[in-house]
């Protein structure tokens, strides 16, 4: 029996997975946009984004646009690679489940 792949625990959290997937489809996104798309609270969203940032999967930038502070996030190459590997692992697990 082939060995089943491990799922990356950093990405596996539902909100973190949603955030990384959202950022995979855009170049960069504001904190408020991510909050609107996920329907999450500020605290929870900030905590999950911090975990992704600590893992090197997203990069955060603070800037001022028309004198208003703006926090912008973007997926890193490491994050994109990790998401790709996570999707492949998911598919492999689902394939194994179908075969058994």
């Amino acid at each position: 029996m082939p060995e089943l792949p491990e799922l990356n625990p950093v990405i596996h959290g539902k909100l973190r997975l949603a955030l990384l997937s959202l950022l995979a489809g855009v170049e960069e996104a504001e904190f408020t946009w991510l909050r609107g798309k996920t329907g999450s609270t500020d605290g929870n969203l900030g905590a999950q984004l911090l975990k992704l940032e600590e893992a090197g999967y997203v990069a955060m930038e603070k800037r001022f646009v028309m004198r208003k502070p703006q926090t912008v996030y973007r997926i890193t190459e490491v994050g994109r690679q990790a998401l790709t590997e996570y999707v492949q692992a998911l598919k492999q697990l689902l394939g194994a489940a179908i075969e058994s």
Partner: protein
Amino acid sequence: MAERITDTELAERLGLIESMIAEGRRTTEHWSWTFVLWGVAYLVAIAWSAWGPSPVFAWPVTMVAASIATALLMSRDREKTPETTLGRALGSIWIALAVTMFVVFAALGFSGRIGDVHVFVSIACGLLGLANAASSMMLRWKVQFAAAVGWWTASVLGCFGSANQSLVVFVAAVFLCQIVFGIYGMMCEARERKQRGTVHA
């Protein structure tokens, strides 16, 4: 870890990834209101040039006012949307169209060679068909391609008949391919917003 996860959960995770990636892309497509705004602007310009005072200012004033309104509304909207390559590509088509129309019609106007309504209708409809076709191919949106075909048809029909008939063709194309298409797009966006769910940790 893998043993503890059910197949339903795994499939749910895959579905979540697909829907979230699509969500990011879809955001850049929320431009339908601009079609309605510009459709109304064209009709205002036509009505002003036909029945209003100082008809020579009708097109320049209306077009500049519509450009300012679009820029203002888009700058507000941009704060809430992420930047994507697709969004930038789509934006570049419409900006290029606006600049081309402004340059060509201004040159024709100042040189006094825009007297023939047929030429104006044919060029304007042809350019609008081009932009809609390019956008529809990027978005793979058949309804927008139908709008492009409508513009191209108007571009051909606008060459024939009397000046008034040519203008009627233009007004009909603006109504169908700009205003009705824009309203349809806004309705699609509203429906998508309703279907959007929330995700928690």
